[in-house]
Symmetry: C2
Subunit: 188 residues, 2 copies
């Protein structure tokens, strides 16, 4: 049994992000992350399969949170409203760790491999939302189109929120972007 | 100078697709593709950087075609209508080679690495559409949201079109899916 390490997870995440920012993602090793966090490589691998996964930790939790948010919307809610409500409910997940998320985003944007990984996670998230809509009795193609609409709204709102000059809460940006999205679809 | 090989490109594409279908993408080598096509490896590398790119040949052409399609829409067209028109205009690109595209899609769906590559190409296509909208004077976030809406419509229509039982032309599926997409956004 390993020694109990107070907040090992948080220390590893902070150390990784600091090193990725200082010397680049590609140039950083797991050994360096563990050392910076004052922990062992073995402890690192208790939390993450590799150095990339440090940046995507929590995405499974987010996916499940969004799916259950879609399921929890009132029965009368239109599909896109159910998705909007789930996205708004998930905004706390990001607000709690805004500084970390903003720094993480800068690292991901700078690295094509990480950017690709982000696309794959977003596609997985979109499929989970579509599946949650189907569980509400929404048929395809509506379920898939609604999930993709939700993903588009989230991506755009998230990019605005992670802008360094941004002062608005993510929840408000999601709501505003959803309205802009409806306007895009309405314009003829 | 190499010998002139009649339709070397088409022969390599057909040979690659046949081998990927028969023995799997991972188990196929460039040497085998060239041999099946009755050509040399050297000829293969005149057309493709690697065996993966055989499946994504033409995506640059498609991207440019879509961007110029967006630019060619009447000045009065709403952003999403401009994108819809560009997608419909691009449908011929796929109709001309339907059998090849359908078989290609089956190979891509079965292979996670290829599926990731497809996501990356789609993200690039989406950025090209957004840039073409900005050139028409459409501001962000409308340009980005509209491009993502267009990509969602295209993906869903394309999936229906590549279904083996499908009899409807891609252009008609794009038009119908765009209407469904508008209904999704309208429902409250």
């Amino acid at each position: 049994m390993g020694r109990w390490e107070p907040d090992a997870l948080g220390r590893l995440q902070q150390a990784a992000l600091a090193l990725y920012g200082e010397q680049g993602f590609d140039n950083t090793t797991v050994a360096e992350i563990a050392e910076r966090a004052g922990l062992t490589k073995r402890t690192f691998f208790r939390y993450f399969t590799d150095k990339r996964e440090v940046l995507f930790w929590g995405s499974q939790e987010l996916e499940e949170g969004l799916a259950s948010g879609v399921g929890a919307a009132p029965e009368s809610a239109a599909p896109l409203d159910a998705v909007g409500a789930a996205l708004e409910a998930a905004s706390g997940f990001f607000e709690q760790r805004r500084e970390w998320v903003v720094r993480r985003q800068r690292i991901i944007t700078a690295n094509p491999e990480l950017h690709e990984r982000e696309l794959i996670k977003l596609a997985s998230l979109t499929r989970a939302i579509a599946a949650a809509l189907r569980d509400r009795g929404v048929d395809d193609p509506t379920a898939t189109l609604t999930a993709k609409a939700g993903a588009a709204v989230f991506e755009v709102a998230f990019e605005q929120w992670t802008d360094e000059t941004n002062q608005r809460p993510l929840q408000e940006l999601i709501r505003g972007t959803l309205e802009e999205f409806r306007a895009v679809a309405d314009a003829r």
